[in-house]
Amino acid sequence: MKRLPLEGIRIADLSMMWAGPYATRILAEMGAEVLKIESPTAWDNVRTLGALPDEDEPWNASAYFNDYNRDKKSLTIDLSGDLGRELFLDLVPHCDVVIENYRADVLDNLGLGYEVLRERRADIILVSMAGFGKTGSERNHVGYGPIIEQMSGLTSMTGYGDGVPMKTGISYGDPVAGVAATGAIALALIQRQRTGEGTFVDLAQRETMASLIGEAFVAASLRGEDPVQRGNRHPAFAPQGVYRCRGDDDWVAISVRSDAEWRSLAHHIGADHVSELAGGERRERHDEIDALIEDWTRTRSPQTAMEELQERGVPAGRVLDSDAIHRDRQLEARGYWVELPHPKQDVWKQPSSAWRLLEANPQLREHAPLFGQHNREIITGLLGRSEAELQALADAGVIGDAPINPSAG
């Protein structure tokens, strides 16, 4: 069996919500052992977002949580007191990487900054993912994904053209920062392999988000331009748009890059009278062309519209909603959705790794851990503490197998 790239790497994961947990899900897919650490009093809020209210342990029954935290082990530690802090610091020598996405000042306030961690393991890699970084005048701002997106410039570039900026429909800054963090960890591991030294990665989520709109900064700095909200149109490709299909809120995206694609589309939808228009003319008459296209798409399901156009070489894609995407032919054919049983909820289709290492072939291994599920394994096994010490930690509330005050989530 070929080994996954991160086999043998252990990660202490203090991150919560989405950006950090998305990063560590990918690291787990790549073979790392991820120890997800939550406090019984300050646990990952995602556990109770989207949980079904009638569950007896809702914090273990959220599809949202369980999707992004599979293949990890759960260790609970209250880091705010000396006992918990010492327990965590005992763990550090066993870990290659510590990752956190607290507000910028929290890790230092807990007395767990990089210099403290280095005393326990000289080549430790620490990745901090505060929204605006650990330095700079905006470091004290608090931000979730949509705020990161607003402050990076992207939101201002999205809109129907009426001047109202529009947020991406997901907390887009989070997974972008998460994927970037996995790359930062790989770089740090490469550097450690070469030099024997660890590093402290200060990742500002706003900066990774801004890296995905580089052209806009070039236009702004060279020519003073601010981007125009184009709706679904494109500066060169015409027509381009998202068109209503038969059905309830069903749509198909169509994007025409050339005269040949346009002729093919125009003939197929019965718009021969405009099939010879050049690109510039198509841009000028875009509204009129959109109406012709939509007259045709309204008579078809989005799947049929896409398939008919693709058969004729026209770029077209069905707009898959969050439900239909789980039945998409392409994702199904590639075995993308996997049903991994979980003890506290019915099976649901989970995404497999987007990084298809065709030889090492990463697979989902373990369902997301129940709260504190691996406390004993890690504390008595890896850390070698006695059963009596384990019990003392539980009695002191440092560890726990259920969150305190879960309704506060």
């Binding site: 999205t158 900064f217 702004a220 003073g224 987007a354």
Partner: protein, 357 residues
């Protein structure tokens, strides 16, 4: 320069779209010798060239097989099968050079019924699921700005490639990585993906107000936003300072959802007379996540980003441009310069293959 983390790593970029160019952009900054194979027709616009090609050497598209075998990482974003059609079958290359990492980025992956589909950023975004969630109810799903589907492919391509390269360093073997833009997005639909999978219900577009306390509102000089989870509600209500909000219909999490419209109406009013600077200041004071909508020009002027040295100044044929530089702090970085198309063909063949002109 020996302290750059990827010094001595050879990277060959083939295909030339945003995905491949972005995947290798950070590798160049972190010290890799990135060689971009120029296509007959440049796929990138001038502004994309300025932000995606700094620090890369550029060669003509011949003798690629030898260059690929001299590389540590090959990144390509052609249509599935196009690499093999150029005599660079990935499976053969992997056998010939076991340490090689090959990363193929395409809209839908190398196999399956859509593998041969024609695609653009919008088309890939449509099939990835994010599009359906963006925009206003009753209006068409809306593509977010720039070329996000393609950039996401590049971002995943970067991180996957360096992760596999680390695996090759430790275990002695590379891999062939098949990255689909559709799959990059389909696994990151926030709660909407897993919730729909679990319940069979689809999530609707919610424009700028996912809920009253998670949204964007017009303010006195633009737009501002707030994102509050249940545990931040007390701080949010203290910041807003409206005693009516102490009522149970707003403080109780379930009742708050039932009275979301009323709360949203109050938030519209509250935001309307605040400036963006006030919103940011109030957020810091009350530890409430507030934000404001900045244009790219305003982001360029951010003192925080300047203090952190985020932007690189890159000379282009039409002047000096500011482009996003190092994505995170913690490693040495070089900003690099722009090279002309095919300018480095001879030098690269000399350095990588030992050829003399």
């Amino acid at each position: 320069m020996s302290d750059l983390p990827l010094t001595g790593v050879r990277v060959l970029e083939i295909g030339g779209g945003i995905s491949a160019a972005f995947a290798t952009r950070w590798m160049a900054g972190f010290g890799a010798d990135v060689v971009r194979v120029d296509a007959a027709a440049e796929a990138l616009g001038d502004d994309q060239v300025a932000c995606l090609l700094p620090g890369k050497r550029r060669v003509a598209a011949n003798g690629l097989h030898e260059l690929a075998l001299a590389a540590d990482i090959v990144v390509e974003d052609g249509k599935p099968g196009s690499l093999a059609a150029r005599g660079l079958n990935p499976e053969t290359l992997r056998r010939e050079r076991p340490r090689l990492v090959i990363t193929s980025i395409s809209s839908f992956g190398k196999d399956g019924p859509y593998a041969g589909y024609e695609s653009t950023n919008l088309v890939a975004h449509a099939l990835g699921g994010i599009l359906s969630l963006t925009g206003s109810p009753g209006r068409p799903p809306l593509c977010n700005g720039g070329s996000q589907a393609e950039y996401l492919g590049g971002l995943n391509g970067f991180s996957a490639s360096v992760t596999a390269y680390f695996g090759a360093l430790v275990h002695g073997e590379g891999d062939w990585i098949d990255i689909s833009l559709q799959e990059c997005a389909a696994g990151m639909l926030e709660l909407h993906g897993p919730m729909s999978a679990a319940t069979g219900e689809r999530s609707e577009r919610r424009a700028n107000q996912t809920s009253a306390v998670w949204g964007i509102y017009p303010c006195a000089d633009g737009f501002g936003g707030v994102c509050a989870l249940a545990r931040q509600i007390p701080a949010l209500f203290a910041m807003v300072g409206d005693p009516d909000l102490e009522d149970e219909r707003f403080t109780d999490p379930h009742k708050r959802l039932e009275h979301n419209d009323e709360l949203e109406a109050r938030m519209w009013v509250w935001f309307s007379d605040k400036t963006r600077a006030e919103l940011l200041q109030l957020g810091v004071e009350h530890k409430v996540p507030t934000g404001v909508v900045y244009t790219p020009k305003e982001v360029l002027g951010s003192s925080s980003l300047q203090e952190r040295g985020f932007f690189d100044a890159i000379d282009t044929p039409t002047g000096r441009a500011q482009v996003p530089g190092r994505p995170f702090l913690g490693f040495a970085w070089r900003k690099g310069a722009l090279h002309a198309a095919c300018a480095d063909t001879e030098a690269v063949r000399r350095d990588w293959l030992g050829e003399n002109a």
